[in-house]
């Protein structure tokens, strides 16, 4: 499987074959970035809030074990059943065993990037259990049999006409419908039926509060509540880094989350779940899946501070022009590119290189993760562990040799300029990726060094 995965440059090249579509994708996400700017700009203490959030998360990571234990204790005291999963497989097995125990073969699920990371839907399908995603965007990509391309806006890569075609095929709306109002209504009717008939609902978790054993789920559609309130069994799945110490800290994170994500002051629903209602069973699955390994990597630990707002994707000039699927990982964009190599360095060796290191991501990040610095550091790790292409290794060694010696450098520079001037076709050809869509620089008559020497004779 991993051998067949196309790389970010290959997938981006395909994405860029339709330039008008790239423009549309770029403008759509840039519009969201601008909404974020406006919304953040309306909070004079924005930068202080970011710093606070960053420090709270740093603190949590430094004492995660203790907070997890107290969260478990308090959640249990509230009547919630707590599970621990070491990896994706164990997570999937736990969810499956809960459903099996209740004889449930169909489940409704609200947004959870963790279940995408664990490939829960595929796992359950193989076990004969049907999952319907209730977040509208997630439902759309599910119908299209695609993964989400963005953690907050899963179907941002789809145009409304394409969604109309999908709904025509699957939900019976008339062919050619593209009015968002009509399409949304069709989805509502379809999902209402799902909510009423499903006995189990799975939700994600945005924040889990150690002090109280409760958790908060943020949605704009109320779909997490609809699912959880109507089902006999509520399963909430979370990565272990979702912990915050106290309820009062929600004030910091809820102010940052939606503003960073979409520019809204707050998500439409911030639902607090503390204990199961009478007759209901409530489960929490706490998942590691590589997180403790990442915590042990000093350079990359801060990536676990992420609150999954997606601001780094919206601002990323590369993401906007390559699309979420080009990252071939559940979490796309800059944050995905620093999380993925933790799980598989070989498969995701290309992702830390899918950046110009412009630094925009680190500066929109509401918890101040040094994303672009980590991209740089992952590059060093990937090369040292031997996942760089051998052609690259050779050219780098040659470059190092040349640039480590002034004499060799001057000769090579002169030779290079001579070639470019006298036999330009040696450089200006299809094998030079620079030349494909760009002209080479004009050849000056002398280098600066040569000019300086004459000037100061």
């Amino acid at each position: 499987m991993s051998g067949a995965t196309k790389t970010h440059p290959e997938l981006s090249e395909t994405f860029n074959q339709d330039e008008a579509r790239v423009d549309w994708h770029d403008e759509t996400l840039w519009w969201i970035r601008q909404k974020r700017d406006k919304s953040a700009g309306s909070i004079p203490e924005w930068e202080t809030l970011r710093e606070k959030a960053s420090q709270i998360k740093d603190h949590v990571l430094s004492e995660l074990a203790g907070y997890l234990v107290s969260f478990e204790e308090n959640a249990k005291a509230n009547g919630i059943i707590v599970h621990w999963a070491a990896d994706a497989l164990e997570h999937n097995q736990i969810v499956h065993s809960i459903l099996e125990k209740h004889g449930i073969s169909q489940m409704v699920k609200s947004k959870s990037m963790l279940t995408e990371e664990c490939h829960l839907n595929e796992y359950l399908e193989q076990k004969g259990i049907g999952v319907i995603d209730s977040d509208l965007g997630e439902r759309i990509v599910q119908l299209a049999k695609e993964p989400p391309s963005h953690i907050v806006l899963p179907c941002i890569h789809k145009k409304k006409e394409e969604i109309g075609d999908l709904f025509h095929l699957h939900l019976g709306v008339p062919a050619g419908t593209s009015d968002p109002q009509i399409l949304t209504e069709a989805a509502r009717q379809h999902l209402r039926e799902t909510f009423l008939t499903r006995k189990a609902a799975l939700t994600g978790v945005n924040f889990a509060i150690a002090e109280t054993g409760e958790f908060v789920v943020c949605t704009n559609e109320g779909n997490a509540d609809m699912g959880a309130h109507l089902a006999d069994v509520h399963i909430a799945c979370m990565g272990i880094e979702k912990i915050i110490p106290k309820r009062k800290h929600l004030g910091v994170f809820l102010r940052l989350l939606a503003r960073s994500a979409t520019g809204q002051p707050v998500t439409t629903y911030s639902s607090h779940f503390k204990k199961p209602r009478k007759g209901q069973e409530m489960h929490i699955v706490l998942v590691d899946n590589g997180r403790t390994v990442q915590m042990g990597r000093e350079d990359f630990r801060a990536s676990l501070k992420c609150i999954r707002c997606g601001a780094c994707m919206n601002t990323c000039p590369v993401y906007r022009r390559s699309g979420g699927h080009s990252y071939h990982y559940a979490i796309s964009g800059p944050i995905g590119a620093i999380l993925a190599p933790n799980l598989d360095r070989e498969k995701y060796a290309d992702l830390p290189f899918a950046s110009t290191l412009c630094g925009s991501c680190s500066n929109v990040c509401p918890v101040k993760i040094d994303i672009h610095q980590q991209l740089y550091k992952w590059r060093q790790v990937i090369v040292k562990e031997g996942y760089a292409a051998s052609s690259k290794k050779l050219s780098m060694k040659l470059m190092t040799f040349t640039l480590s010696s002034p004499g060799v450098y001057r000769t090579a520079g002169k030779a290079g300029r001579w070639v470019l001037k006298h036999i330009p076709f040696a450089v200006n050809n299809q094998f030079n990726p620079w030349y494909k869509q760009r002209e080479m620089p004009a050849v000056p008559k002398e280098s600066f060094g040569e000019w300086y020497k004459k000037e100061n004779q």
């Binding site: 700009g41 950046s355 740089y376 494909k436 869509q437």
Partner: protein, 245 residues
């Protein structure tokens, strides 16, 4: 008198000597004691950003050997300066490397913060678009970035506003990356070119005759695209405008 060591990045030396000459002449005009150490080559960034930082020892030592003696090291490239500031380390002369990391300046910040240039004698009667190179802006804080909720400032504009006749155009996206990104420009050719085309277009639709900036690498990338599109718009390093009479 304080001694200034001129650090001319390798690709500027080889392909854009004009930017280097303008930097040298400008610093001389301002009465500074400038020397170009002739044994210099490169800051090592092309290797390091590609994941080969461990191969840059030779480059780093060479840099230290060439520049340790100066009071200030000045370079017409935000990106190379940022690389030195963040990553110059050597096995044998780490103390000197540490000192260099604190005394290396990008040209614009040197002129504004150290020389405190208030009255530049320059004339450039053209419509100019300013490209904010990311490493200079977000790395060296040459100007405020649009991501932060913080008061605005711009060191390049402080200097360009002293240039007689220069008309600065307004861009739709003031500080978006051009897509050069070092080896990114060839490894991720498709996205790199698309980013460059979009950046260039912003300048073109807003009437720029020249695109300028504090990093020649971004300008080289945009120039490649402008030339391929047969555009008459030119790129010029900011030193060339500040040195124009």
């Amino acid at each position: 008198m304080k001694k200034v060591g001129l650090f001319i990045p390798c690709y500027v030396d080889q392909f854009y000597p004009g930017a280097g000459i303008a930097t040298y002449q400008l610093l001389k005009k301002l009465g500074l004691d400038v020397t170009y150490p002739t044994g210099q080559t490169c800051c090592g960034q092309p290797m390091a950003n590609s994941g080969f930082e461990h191969l840059t020892q030779g480059c780093n030592q060479l840099f230290v050997d060439n520049f340790a003696e100066f009071d200030y090291i000045v370079s017409p490239s935000g990106s190379c300066v940022l690389h030195i500031k963040e990553h110059l380390h050597t096995t044998h002369s780490e103390n000197q490397a540490a000192e260099i990391r604190t005394k290396v300046y990008e040209l614009v910040e040197f002129l504004v913060d150290i020389v405190k240039v208030k009255n530049l004698k320059a004339r450039f009667p053209h419509k100019v678009g300013l490209h904010q190179s990311c490493h200079g802006q977000r790395g060296l804080y040459l100007s405020q970035m649009s991501e932060l909720v913080a008061p605005g400032f711009s060191k390049p504009l402080q200097l360009l506003s002293q240039v007689e006749g220069l008309e600065l155009i307004t861009l739709k996206r003031g500080d978006e990356c051009c897509g050069f990104g070092g080896t990114f420009c060839v490894v991720e050719e498709a996205v790199s070119v698309k980013m460059g085309k979009d950046r260039v277009k912003d300048h073109l639709v807003n009437g720029a005759e020249y695109i300028t900036g504090a990093d020649m690498s971004c300008l080289m990338h945009m120039e490649g695209i402008l030339k391929r599109e047969n555009s008459q718009v030119k790129v010029l390093h900011i030193a060339e405008i500040l040195n124009a009479e």
